[in-house]
Amino acid sequence: MTALLEVTDLNVTFDTGEVVVPAVRSTSYHIDPGEVVAIVGESGSGKTTAAMAVVGLLPEYADVSGSVRLHGEELLGLSDNAMSRIRGKAIGTVFQDPMSALTPVYTIGDQIAEAIEVHERDISRADARNRAVELLELVGIAQPERRARAFPHELSGGERQRVVIAIAIANDPDLLICDEPTTALDVTVQAQILDLLRTARDVTGAGVLIITHDLGVVSEFADRALVMYAGRAVEIAAVEVLYRDRRMPYTVGLLGSVPRLDAPQGTRLIPIPGAPPTMSSLSPGACPFVPRCPLAIDECRSAEPDLVPVGDDHWAACIRTDDVAGRSAAEIFGVSTQPLPTDSTAGEPPVVLRVTDLTKTYQLTKGVILRRRVGEVRAVDGVSFTLRQGRTLGIVGESGSGKSTTLTQILELTTPQAGSIEILGADVAALDAATRRQLRTDLQVVFQDPVASLDPRLPVFDVVAEPLVANGFDKRRCDERVAELLSVVGLDHADASRYPAEFSGGQKQRIGIARALALQPKILALDEPVSALDVSIQAGIINLLLDLQAQFGLSYLFVSHDLSVVKHLAHRVAVMYRGTIVEQGDGDQVFTNPQHEYTRRLLAAVPRAHADVAGG
């Protein structure tokens, strides 16, 4: 059988004048018709570049060499005009962010029709429109006739992604490239979109190249996977084989660091130590994974291993593949996944946070001069929960469920619209300025986006010292405490005089955690603290959070949309849906025996990794 797409020895180098970045280095892969191939890797591993080189959508300063053949026809070196005839016709593309992939000023019907007209010059307007409506029906948009006249902002995120897929399959492509198609979406929507992509593949018979960092998506959707690290494919295998018998230590780490729904609370994950290498400063002649590899030997530093077949249709770029086979990730990385021993002797610990019937509504008003109420949005509607000392309460929900609003209400420490918030026994409605200030030090927050939550103009020392200075620590005590905090979160003392922009995402989040811990709070509010991080880094942060809880007896209020992360951390779980808590209970109970229908839907939608046979 001839391959649909054959990529051979692809090299992409970005030359920005100052630094030369080899983003993709001698990578080869192929896709058969109707096959789904996933490219997996962490951010910066070159997975997007490797796929975008196929469609010729790289910036002008990219230097591409090698060979990309579609149906045996060479695509590299074609002029932009020639490529434009292939893009959208033979190759359809689905991008990560559906909002920016659609033009906001045209209706979605027009945009789909345009995609058809561009490649079929002689089609009439009316025919193109009819086809557009058919496509909308195919991708599962209700009332396609009417919705074709809608603008992108009138659709939900999932619907927008459906429209983007409709555009991608409009001309019956042979190859569909999906760049993180579900990353920006909620879990339940993600499951639907994956179903839709499967349908799209069946309808068009196209090969699918999917780029993702989500290993759940890979196991759910792909036939074969290509693991990329530092711009190279380090392991290629069928997905079942990859999960059962992975041979490259990096793949082991990647699979081992995924939080799992079937693990008990407190289970530690296996992080890959260190951070991905900077592509501009790769040392030649050594395996780029050496600094993070638990199995590295001297030989690894002398030559970069080639991809060698280790089994039937299974390649790995490692010289120690035999040492990997059959051993669990915990064994290879030399760490234990057992939960830390907790003292369950002391009975019920005291309640540190009690929220009763919390309600927050937003008024909808109309008119500029005569402002009148036209209704209200109940963002949070009668939410009650308690958090006990040293425990973690996970609040789970999809976007718009009111979980962040709940958190903000608690953090504001002001009287809520209705209901009551009690922190460490003090009702926030009855606080005066001094006690509120005092309470602020007991309740700290870690935000989702480590980039946005650190002031880019402040060096790390000032960032971490800020709460200390604000609470009247003198210079010497500040210095001592900052040094202590940096070591607690696993950062170097010398890092203190660098700016946040010089750190990787995981390190930035560690800085954020150090800042939150500065005043020795009793409660830590965690607003999706790991969802912006790569999976191998995420594992390190989750372990850190578990350690800190054991070490300082912290109580966590953990807000997340990621059920498997919550499973690892939370003792109790509250599931939020449309502003109310639909189910609340002990973590194991909610996950193993969900009572509410929404919880069941949420759990069913989580893409599950294959059982790791060798794992423990």
Partner: protein, 314 residues
């Protein structure tokens, strides 16, 4: 990791005792170090400082005062005796340029400093707090924007006493020069206010005043510094045009503006009369801009030497 973590857990404080806590570099040092790395900016700053000192220190040492007449040298090109040449009355142009520089630099820097500070204060307070403060301040800004400032200055300055003329010129030019940039600062502040690092600071119990000074202002510093350097040029030019029309600096006082105005008619025939003060003006504005650029790069960790790493090449 477990072993490491427990080791950390048990030995946190003692393990750190070997480190001298006094070794953290303060932010000010960091900015200064980054500024010094930028050669053109350092040279420009030194030139500015020399010019500022020179225009006050040199005139007493010169053989001619700025109003002395040398009848033996009328309209002479630059020579050993008159370094910048002389004008039609035989006045030494070097002395006159230096004297003009005194006024122009004083006006330029004071106006830039005052109007940018006012813009920063008003803009950040209005943007950060919102509500009634925002409404009142923006009302004031809108009011000042529609006042015909040039006419107002032209009416007031000639009525003031000679000695305080410069002072009033500075006050008036500054009072009418901050509104547009304060609106820009307000807009930036409003978007910064919603950023997570500002929210984090608020939840940590940092006072509003400290948030504005430590988070908001450094993040709008690029705009402020560009604004300040542009204001230097703007103030000197505004003074020039006022003086040209006979309102700003009154004779026998000289400023770079009046000197340029004097030299303009003979710019082609006796170029030095025009070129010397004009060149000085260009040099001042250029140096101010270079210094400003350097300061901006030093404050902004994302620019210059500390480029962001390409995290996700596409």
């Amino acid at each position: 990791m477990t072993q490491k973590a427990t080791a950390e857990a048990t030995g946190t404080t003692p393990a750190r005792s070997g480190i001298h806590p006094g070794t953290f570099t303060s932010r000010r040092n960091l900015v200064a170090r980054r500024f010094i790395r930028n050669r053109p900016a350092v040279v420009a700053l030194i030139l500015l400082a020399l010019g500022f000192i020179g225009c006050y220190a040199l005139p007493p040492l010169l053989p001619y005062g700025y109003n002395d007449l040398d009848y033996n040298a009328l309209l002479q090109p630059p020579s050993l005796e008159h370094w910048f040449g002389t004008n039609a009355l035989g006045q030494d142009l070097l002395a006159r340029t230096l004297c003009g520089m005194q006024k122009s630099m004083l006006i330029g820097f004071c106006v830039a400093l005052i109007s940018t500070s006012v813009a920063a204060t008003v803009g950040s307070v209005a943007g950060y707090f919102g509500g009634w403060r925002d409404r009142r301040l923006m009302w004031l800004v809108d009011l000042l924007l529609v006042v015909p400032s040039f006419l107002l200055i032209a009416i007031i300055t000639p009525r003031t006493k000679h000695s305080s003329g410069i002072f009033w010129l500075i006050v008036l030019l500054a009072a009418f020069g901050w509104m547009v940039s304060s609106r820009m600062v307000r807009g930036l502040t409003m978007s910064l206010r919603e950023r997570e690092f500002v929210r984090a600071a608020r939840y940590m119990g940092v006072s509003s005043r400290r948030i504005i000074v430590h988070h908001i202002l450094p993040n709008v510093a690029s705009i402020l510094i560009i604004d300040a350097t542009l204001n230097v040029g703007f103030a000197i030019l505004a003074e020039t045009s006022l003086s040209f029309l006979g309102f700003g600096v009154q004779p026998p006082d000289v400023s770079l503006g009046t000197l340029i105005a004097d030299g303009t008619p003979s710019a082609t025939t006796f170029p030095w009369v025009f070129l010397c003060p004009a060149g000085t003006l260009i040099l001042i504005v250029l140096c101010a801009n270079l210094t400003g650029d350097g300061l901006r790069d030093a404050l902004d960790p994302r620019s210059g030497s500390a480029r962001p790493k390409k995290r996700r090449p596409k």
